[in-house]
């Protein structure tokens, strides 16, 4: 029996999709902290070497790092850039991949060329590509974002193209085509909607993977510049201190893991919800 009131439906939804709720709530809290960072923390860049590597205390809630900077402040501000990286990478790779995938899936003649290009791009190991780009163009948040976006595009393209291919010959699309609908409108109105669900799910996975990749790049020395905190570069620059000052790694590490977990849960939940086959079985 379906609940009738709005709140009743909401509770029912929460009960049936706990992953979406947990993931979403977690992300929301962290995003809030990121937005209100200046209100809840002091300057993350202020360094005071005499205070370096101090354990958590009343003054420094999560201790200080090797330059005497407040780790709690850097964590909160770090949420900004880490989330920014995750979200922009997800957004741009989905955007680019969707456009290319739509075009490739619909126009047979361009398809072969575009897919070869995408195959070529996929063949290059993504981390090497990223390191090379960052090393050659200089480290900045923009370059790191571009470096992570580029290897993600082919996968999204494939996804979108597969959907387009399966939808383009369906009766209602045929009908619209024979009606003389312009190509652009055809793509937008009739084909694009089918791609939205899998794209959203894919976007969440890309977001999670981007945040992790940023940490890996920082480890290899090709990440965002260390002046501005991201959880990734906080972990990477503190890796020497695992035994001497473990709080320098654990704080950002746990945060990173939580966010990635949250995003993954969200993605799983959304996929279960949006993919009718599986939710039926659940």
């Amino acid at each position: 029996m379906q609940p009738t009131t709005a709140s009743g439906r909401l509770v029912d939804f929460m009960r049936r999709h706990p992953t979406i709720v947990v993931g979403g709530l977690l992300l929301f809290t962290i995003a809030l902290a990121a937005v209100f960072a200046p209100l809840i923390a002091r300057d993350p860049l202020a360094l005071e070497p005499i205070n370096r590597l101090k354990a958590p205390s009343a003054e420094f809630w999560l201790g200080t790092d090797s330059l005497g900077r407040d780790i709690y402040a850097r964590m909160v501000y770090g949420a900004r850039i880490s989330l920014l990286v995750g979200l922009t990478v997800a957004f741009f790779s989905v955007l680019a991949g969707a456009v290319i995938g739509l075009v490739a899936g619909y126009f047979r003649r361009i398809d072969a060329v575009v897919m070869r290009l995408m195959d070529g791009l996929m063949a290059i190991p993504s981390i090497l590509l990223a390191i090379a780009l960052v090393s050659l163009l200089g480290a900045s948040v923009k370059v790191v974002i571009v470096a992570i976006v580029i290897p993600e595009i082919p996968r999204v393209t494939r996804l979108v193209r597969a959907v387009v291919l399966s939808v383009r010959d369906l009766p209602y699309v045929e009908a619209a085509r024979s009606n003389g609908t312009r190509v652009g409108k055809l793509l937008r109105r009739h084909i694009l909607p089918s791609t939205v669900a899998p794209l959203i799910v894919q976007a969440t996975y890309i977001c999670a993977s981007a945040i992790l990749t940023e940490a890996g790049l920082s480890f290899l020395g090709a990440g965002t510049p260390p002046e501005f905190p991201t959880w990734g570069n906080m972990i990477a620059s503190s890796r020497l201190y695992l035994q001497i000052a473990p709080w320098t790694i654990f704080a950002p590490g746990i945060c990173l893991a939580l966010v990635v977990l949250a995003v993954n849960l969200l993605g799983d939940g959304l996929r279960d919800r949006l993919d009718p086959r599986i939710s039926r079985r659940m």
């Binding site: 070869r116 070529g120 063949a123």
Partner: protein
């Protein structure tokens, strides 16, 4: 079927060409001057210029690309600008380590993941299912190098069960080779468990819902052999697809693991080369990796023909 295989083989050529163009332009169009780095801190401008010429870096780009492309086709990937060793030799010396690490990691990841995936699918919806899936996602959420350090701290330093770092080739004994690879392959493998387990579970669920499975179960066929024989075989296709994707991701993951565990593999070679702008090495290794990736995907696509006759790409 042969026609399909042949067409796939032909398709490899334009892909490799694109990779070549991409890799070459990436390095040569972006700012960076290997000559200055090679010359060292105390060199004069004239010295740097002379080194630049001796490395052929001042020729027109198209000419450099053509000569590089042509020699690559003949198997000559050039010479490192630093150590004056041929790139192919350098890769050969280190391929064993990377390959060993990749294979053991894949084995670890696939074994654990498939077991977990099958388990979770079998008990779908239960606490076990959620726990297994949750755990695998959690293992994916922590960066590889953090996992690596923690493992080294406990297993190698505190309990002294395994060595901290390093690599021993098979020629030095099987156990010697294996014990140096255990920690790195687990640290890296755990990251892939989530991916493979998830797909295994999904495709197993698909198969388990099929009528013939329910019939077999109703007839009283024992669960485990049934799972293994019927379900797993039919779920093989998507699993192999994911393994193929995993290989590509593996190449990326290996780079980090090689640094943490000091495995002298190709990943470290190329990271060092990038930081020194050693163009021939960077180009050569990227081409080789791309080639391996393309080859593996080719083999996977061809294996589809045997596993599932229904699949044909137009």
């Amino acid at each position: 079927m042969l026609a399909y295989i042949f067409r796939r083989l032909l398709g490899v050529i334009p892909v490799m060409l694109i990779v070549g163009i991409f890799v070459f332009s990436l390095l040569h169009l972006a700012p960076g001057d290997p000559a200055a780095i090679i010359a060292g801190d105390n060199a004069t401008e004239a010295n740097v210029a002379r080194i630049r010429t001796s490395l052929g870096l001042d020729r027109p780009l198209l000419e450099q690309f053509a000569s590089w492309g042509w020699s690559t086709l003949q198997g000559d990937l050039g010479i490192s600008m630093y150590s004056m060793t041929p790139v192919t030799t350098m890769v050969q010396q280190r391929m064993g380590a990377t390959f060993s690490l990749a294979v053991t990691t894949m084995l670890v990841a696939v074994t654990i993941a498939i077991t977990l995936g099958v388990l979770a699918a079998w008990k779908a919806g239960s606490l076990l299912d959620r726990a297994v899936m949750g755990l695998s996602v959690a293992s994916f959420s922590v960066p590889v190098f953090v996992v690596g350090y923690i493992m080294v701290y406990f297993v190698a330093l505190q309990w002294r069960w395994l060595p901290v770092q390093g690599y021993m080739p098979l020629s030095e004994g099987f156990w010697n080779w294996l014990r140096h690879l255990i920690l790195p392959s687990f640290a890296l493998g755990l990251a892939y468990v989530a991916l493979i387990a998830r797909i295994t579970r999904a495709s197993m669920l698909d198969v388990l819902a099929e009528d013939y499975i329910r019939t077999a179960s109703a007839k009283g066929v024992a669960t485990v052999p049934m799972l293994l024989r019927h379900a797993l075989k039919n779920a093989a296709v998507p699993i192999i697809t994911v393994v193929g994707i995993g290989v590509a991701l593996l190449i990326s993951g290996v780079v980090i693991t090689e640094s943490v565990f000091n495995v002298p593999g190709v990943g470290r070679l190329v990271v060092d080369a990038i930081s020194r702008r050693d163009y021939p090495v960077i180009q050569g290794v990227m081409i080789i990796f791309a080639g391996i990736y393309v080859l593996i995907n080719l083999m996977i696509d061809i294996s589809y023909c045997f596993l599932d006759p229904r699949i044909r790409y137009s």
